[in-house]
Symmetry: C2
Subunit: 376 residues, 2 copies
């Protein structure tokens, strides 16, 4: 256990929970009242309350970003490589907040929590929330924590979209924004992958129009397919070649539909693990939040106009082998920031890991983050 709780780990952590007793008007037109957000914090809020940073999670992420819940946990939180004493998001210096988003399935109000109005689980009736809605809900969390402005808001992938939206929605409440492996809007290809994932879940007979919990089942098959597909798009062709190549699991072909290749075995295993921890309705709404994100839309498609009133400094990062959110998507954000005459740094990190690179301990990547954070 020594290495778990070493001097660079935040150690054992526990989630907190807050009931936000305010109503939140959502982009879909509905209003949500009295909702719960689960979050973790690492480090200490200083007296001036100006050292708080917010970590926003991606599609299948949650509030548990660093440390361990239990000494026996096999893995730390999902961004433990970045969060801790002397790490890029340094808990000696910063008070770090990481939450499970509204609509999530790890404790925050979402499809598998009770709707107090009806006494029933929300299920598929939970409204589709947007990146903008999340940012508004995170603002209420900041208010609750007594944080007037974030020193930095940070996220990768769908989390990066939230970091971008924060700068747009609350220019006076955010001093720095780090947008990693993200895009200002999804491409048709990205929407298409999400649609295949959704269709695989929705057409699973055990989905029951989203009321699967009532039937005591879960749409395992659909969620598995969605996860397997997602997984392929998070890795690069090259990293899959290096990791699996054409290696056979049992040294021979079976001329049947059981596992022949290692990569098949890996995908099935990943899917199985995911089905056990993630909720199908949440997965669906997260993909819609991705699809719908497009802050330039209300500015005639001109992102630089959407960014006009932002005041934060920006760091934009992309990875060479990421084809789900390629560097060219980050370039669009950077160009728009430059056109809007904002302070922006950009790095393209040489990495072989595909989209998943943003979770990896890549020295150049951690170095760029650390440098930027030293001036936060």
């Amino acid at each position: 256990m020594q290495n778990k709780l070493d001097k660079n780990s935040v150690g054992i952590v526990s989630p907190s929970s807050v009931e936000i007793k305010q109503s939140l008007e959502l982009d879909c037109g509905k209003t949500i009242e009295n909702f719960c957000l689960v979050y973790e914090t690492y480090g200490k809020l200083n007296k001036e309350k100006n050292n708080a940073i917010l970590i926003c999670h991606a599609l299948s992420g949650d509030h548990h970003a660093a440390g361990y819940h239990d000494i026996n946990d096999k893995k730390p939180g999902w961004w433990d490589v970045c969060i801790g004493p002397n790490k890029p998001f340094d808990t000696n210096k910063f008070f770090i907040v990481s939450l499970n988003n509204l609509g999530g399935c790890m404790g925050s109000t979402g499809p598998n929590t009770l709707d107090k109005k009806t006494g029933n689980e929300y299920g598929p009736d939970f409204p589709i929330v947007t990146v903008n809605d999340w940012v508004n809900s995170q603002k209420l969390l900041a208010d609750y924590l007594g944080i007037n402005a974030w020193a930095c808001v940070i996220g990768g992938s769908l989390g990066g979209m939230q970091a971008l939206q924060w700068a747009i929605s609350y220019p006076d409440k955010i001093r720095n924004s780090i947008i990693i492996a993200a895009a200002a809007k999804l491409s048709a290809q990205n929407i298409a992958f999400n649609e295949v994932a959704r269709q695989s879940i929705i057409t699973d007979p055990e989905f029951h129009d989203g009321h699967y919990n009532k039937f005591g089942v879960i749409p395992k098959r659909g969620l598995s397919i969605a996860r397997m597909l997602g997984h392929i798009t998070y890795l690069s062709d090259d990293s899959m070649r290096q990791k699996f190549g054409r290696d056979l699991r049992e040294g021979k072909l079976h001329f049947g539909y059981d596992v022949d290749f290692q990569v098949e075995s890996y995908l099935r295993y990943q899917a199985q693990a995911f089905v056990e921890r993630f909720d199908a309705n949440t997965y669906l709404l997260m993909t819609k939040a991705l699809d719908y994100f497009d802050p330039a839309k209300e500015h005639g498609g001109d992102l630089s106009k959407a960014l006009e009133n932002t005041k934060s400094r920006f760091l934009v990062l992309s990875f060479t082998s990421d084809w789900r959110f390629s560097s060219s998507r980050s370039h669009e954000i950077v160009k728009s920031l430059v056109r809007a005459r904002k302070s922006v740094s950009y790095s393209e990190i040489e990495a072989n890991h595909g989209h998943d690179a943003f979770l990896m301990p890549i020295p150049q990547y951690l170095g760029v983050l650390k440098n930027f954070m030293e001036n936060v």
Copy 2:
């Protein structure tokens, strides 16, 4: 109808069928006896019987490569842009043979035909056939047609693998080989995409372990998901952006899981059409033929050794925007041919259409094919 039956069309065509009364030993160890192959021919076999070319189809293709079956057909055969009088595969000069492969679902012996031994439909008991098995079955078809050697064997994608295997298996029976948008073996990423497609079909409750016909159903959901996924990988990110962008079908977001974006509507439509025409067991075995293809394997992974005894001229083609079978996969074939001191021409065609480019009337592409065919 004028334009359908113009001077560059092969016009109205009818498929033929042959029962091959020989036994074929398959790579899986099983033997298939007395099997039927459905094929079409365009142009005339000359007296010397040396002007025959073989067209090999890809995953979801069939024997109907050119012309129309009926004056009212909306679409011609799948490679009509390449096959006809004065087209690259010129029916004024060549006798063109196009077949539905063994294991197919368009008339050749396959999962949905009767096993004469048992009197039952083969269904999932139809053996998994390989590219090598197909080439052997095509050799028997050549024998039946009295063709001692093909002037050229041509194919795109999985069809290109057959064109490559022909040169290896029957060096004296093929004078030219055209390998388009193919690979000498699939990458882990490609196998992974195929595995997701297979899992979506196999886990569909209406698959019934492949005996769906007995139950009077088809695994529509699974086959739809497989096709939608396949479709995304046949197009380029760029072509999808140009074709659909983020266009909304009804001008607004619905905050639900019905179609929002045009690209979603397109995919669902394509999937629906595919389910009506294609057989799930055939789809499964075709993906396995792709996964298993690896002629270098029995030569310690050295493709140039596998190519050592080939005698044909080769034309290898790839397309700039094809990411499912990228140009680098064609480079591997070309380099191995060069190392083996074979006659090879290679062109990378500038095209925006992704993997599907091989079916498109791209002037540079048709020009390269035409030039090569003039010396066949």
